[in-house]
Assembly symmetry: C2
């Protein structure tokens, strides 16, 4: 009771997600047709739209899964942050980048970001926006922790600076995935330089 039906629904949704992830990773977003995803998930193309409203929503679901992992990994760092502000901020941001890019291609991120921007009023786009907000909050909590350890000044507005740091990282990540040829190490180096400058003023 309470559901074979419900369970099947969840299970099918999951199958679709997995199939989508496979194809998007293998053939890129535009190179994947809905029909292929449906076939892999052993459903018909029409049925896909009972579960996801647009092709883009499938991709957003895939990257959201990945973002959940980023959050989880970040949580460990917030719980036991490195001693200095600079090390802690660098670690949190870089762990996020590594997780985000370990599994999904730039193409995948690009189109996911584009879809979430173009159709922000779908459930999954909202969930994605929420995940981003939680990332920002994680940075704030890291700063709060550092403040308590005395690694940064007491009078610092951690809300404002948390947002500043995460928005900056997020924006640079965005720029990074737009340049196919760019190396991750470059992005990290740029961020580290900024964090160094910043920490000189907040530590």
């Amino acid at each position: 009771m309470s559901g074979l039906r419900a369970r099947q629904k969840v299970e099918r949704r999951q199958r679709l997600l997995l199939a989508a992830a496979t194809h998007f990773r293998a053939s890129g977003y535009e190179g994947t047709r809905i029909e292929e995803i449906a076939a892999t998930a052993e459903l018909s193309a029409g049925t896909v739209y009972n579960y996801y409203r647009h092709k883009g929503e499938l991709l957003i679901a895939v990257v959201s899964m990945q973002l959940e992992e980023v959050l989880e990994e970040g949580e460990r760092l917030v719980a036991e942050p490195p001693a200095t502000a600079e090390a802690a901020i660098n670690a949190l941001v870089e762990v996020g980048l590594d997780r985000a890019l370990g599994y999904l291609s730039k193409d995948n991120w690009r189109h996911a970001l584009a879809s979430a921007t173009a159709q922000p009023e779908t459930d999954l786009a909202r969930r994605y926006a929420d995940l981003e907000a939680r990332l920002a909050d994680q940075v704030r909590r890291l700063l709060d922790g550092l403040q308590q350890q005395g690694a940064i000044r007491d009078d610092l507005d951690t809300i404002a600076f948390g947002a500043l740091i995460s928005n900056n990282a997020s924006r640079l990540f965005h720029a990074y995935v737009r340049e196919e040829g760019r190396a991750l190490e470059e992005l990290k180096a740029g961020l580290r330089a900024q964090h160094a400058a910043l920490c000189r003023r907040i530590a």
Copy 2:
């Protein structure tokens, strides 16, 4: 003689741009069909693609025009900045927001940002990225000016902080256009609060 042909080409490109702006503003991005733009520009649908590679490129061209104006207006502020760091930063950012949103809808910006993200390898997307870079540089130059006036500390890394400020504003603008119901004044208030916190640490 270098060109009736070339001139006609430029002129047609211009006509298309104008037609696109009209329709996108009136009917939104998805509500505008290429054929309508073509008709207004007195060309056939196929011909549009001799001038712009995708529908999205047309929109990017429209918002780029707008961004040029933002830059121009910002330049005046950089030349004669307000006396305090906080007033100067607020003024530059807010003047940009007002210009950007005075003429184009959130829908237009949303889809332009999405297109520039999804197809970053087109000429116009690159030009758009370049405009964004120039905005960031404008903030840096503002900080440099303020530094010379003694409104912010000499040892501040203006490159890092210029990027930080503009990336933050850019990211919040992005979030703002994604929420149809949100008021511009709210966005500005949020930014002002951040700038206040920031200026407490750099002035």
